[in-house]
């Protein structure tokens, strides 16, 4: 166990601050349009290479679009997709988890079977088919990712709820004649918030990778959007002549996901000691048959990324 430090670790802190800053101020920071290119300026290498052009610090792609501007605008897509998808999945999952855990009985049994089914599906496969058949669009990508993500929240929140429900203050509230809704919202939910924060952070990296994978496969955010996954796919045919088209957005993606993951680890260590034993292995890496929560010690480190962290 690494030493507990109070202050936010610098590497993920700096990377994430930069990311949010560029995403918010993309319009001011990007030197060119992310979607319009000048075909006469196509395939210009980055500035440090021969024939580099200071007008395009990171070079241009096959349509003459500025790679730097596209990466900057791309950060927006990654952030918005993960924020909304996790927001939706977190809300639905938390609600169902709270209800299942608090009500118990048949409600719990039904909801948890549903959760088990959700967790057992091959994520990427289902995502690819769902988006492809429902026409790739920004909205559909978010919906499909949320659909695949909610069981993770439900499972974890339900486990926490079960434990909190047994506490004296809940029993007192019941005796005092409070309604279930009141108890759940006033007593149980606030106690679940730290866990929620940790799971959400740990899912951001996964969502970014999943969105990237879908976009790369051509069933994600449709072109000409500057989604990082799309940019990497764009450069596939130019690996030999213009490697920067694929390499640089991928690097941005790796740095972002790495920073989010490290931040999630740090948050887990500080906010939620209960989760510490879980490790990221259980929370982040379990797209398939995740054993987040009470089942964690029942299975071996569950679920390698189905083909790698979302790919």
């Amino acid at each position: 166990m690494r030493a507990r430090r109070r202050e936010i670790p610098w590497f993920p802190g700096v990377v994430l601050a930069t990311l949010v800053f560029t995403a918010v101020f993309a319009a001011y920071l990007a030197p060119h349009s992310p979607t319009e290119g000048d075909i006469t300026q196509k395939l210009i290498p980055p500035i440090w290479m021969e024939q580099g052009d200071s007008d395009h610090p990171l070079g241009t792609d096959r349509f003459g679009r500025d790679v730097l501007s596209r990466i900057i605008y791309g950060s927006r897509i990654s952030l918005i997709v993960s924020l909304i998808a996790i927001g939706v999945a977190g809300t639905v999952g938390t609600l169902l988890g709270l209800i299942a855990g608090y009500r118990g009985g048949v409600t719990d049994a039904v909801l948890m079977r549903l959760t088990d089914v959700g967790l057992s599906l091959p994520t990427i496969l289902i995502a690819v088919v769902l988006v492809a058949v429902s026409e790739p669009s920004f909205r559909n990508v978010i919906l499909v990712i949320a659909l695949l993500l909610w069981p993770r929240f439900a499972r974890q929140v339900r486990g926490e709820t079960l434990a909190i429900k047994e506490q004296d203050f809940v029993a007192l509230a019941v005796v005092a004649g409070r309604s279930s809704a009141w108890i759940i919202s006033r007593h149980i939910f606030p106690n679940v918030v730290p866990t929620l924060l940790v799971i959400s952070t740990l899912q951001v990296g996964y969502v970014i990778l999943l969105e990237g994978t879908l976009s790369f496969l051509g069933v994600g955010v449709p072109p000409p959007s500057p989604a990082w996954g799309l940019m990497i796919a764009d450069g596939r045919g130019f690996l030999a002549t213009a490697w920067w088209i694929s390499f640089l957005p991928g690097l941005a993606m790796v740095l972002t996901v790495l920073a989010v993951n490290l931040m999630g680890d740090w948050l887990r260590d500080h906010l939620d000691p209960k989760l510490r034993q879980l490790g990221r292995a259980a929370v982040l890496e379990a797209p398939a048959a995740a054993s987040v929560g009470p089942t964690v010690d029942e299975a071996p480190v569950r679920g390698a990324p189905a083909g790698g962290g979302g790919g």
Binding site: V117, V133, S134, V301, A306, G309
Partner: protein, 307 residues
Amino acid sequence: MWRYLTGRVLQTMLSLLVVISIVFVLTRFSGNPVHLLLDVNATERDQEILMRHLGLDRPLPVQYGIYVRNVFLGDFGNSVLTRRPVVEHIWERLPATVELGLVGMVLSVLIGVPLGMYSAVRRGGVLDTGARVFAVLGQSMPAFWLGLMLILFFGVVLGVLPAGGRGGLLHLILPAFTLGYFTSAAIMRLTRSAMLEVLGSDYIKFARLKGLHEQVVLWKHGLKNALLPVVTFAVMLFVQFLGGAVVTETVFAWPGLGRLLLESITTRDYPIVQAGVLVLSALYLTGNLMVDLLYSYLNPRIRHARS
């Protein structure tokens, strides 16, 4: 034990039914298949005949029932494009996917186990730190990007390995490594923690006291006992490869099931899409079931905790 077993089997069947239902609903939403199958000049009468022939004139629940029955009989219909039975297409592509998955699994064990073992032995050393970086990167890197960068380096810059396609052993190296990298990171971590636990046990101390050679202690007494979770995990990984096959197969133009699936999505050959998803999901779900049962058989604590 029996309760756990039946519960687990039922759950797998439920998951499978959900996948079948998703696929069924999708096919009904993705437009009338009659339009895909018939010529543009087809009359309304032709359409009616085909609708009846395909059973599309019946109520939806009946259609669903027929669909589920056909799936269980292994009848997925014909490809819209080639008019050949979908099953033939699947059988053509399945071996390539299994081959890649198997090699990827072996590779990830070959990398992950020794790496995890030595980082446990030399805890906190250079190798341990390096191995941790390897593992953290494995969680943060998109597989498709890693694949492309490997192609760039080994295929384009060095020119020593083929960039794609299926052929001899050389063609297997890059895709298998791409698949195996992420899992070898996970295997490494697992081996490391299992080894740390084993190395602290009395019988290892005793083996050392007996004066056994350190390598014998590590490999024979240590690894042998640390291997149970690793082996179970490795089998499970193989199963998961099937789920992630789409990505690696696309990057390396590997003619497997995953690529067939994606190709069929682009050409809107929905019978193949359905069958591909169903076959891959079925393999994936039964594989996971096997692993769970195997693991609970090997580890009594789970057997009792769950039942």
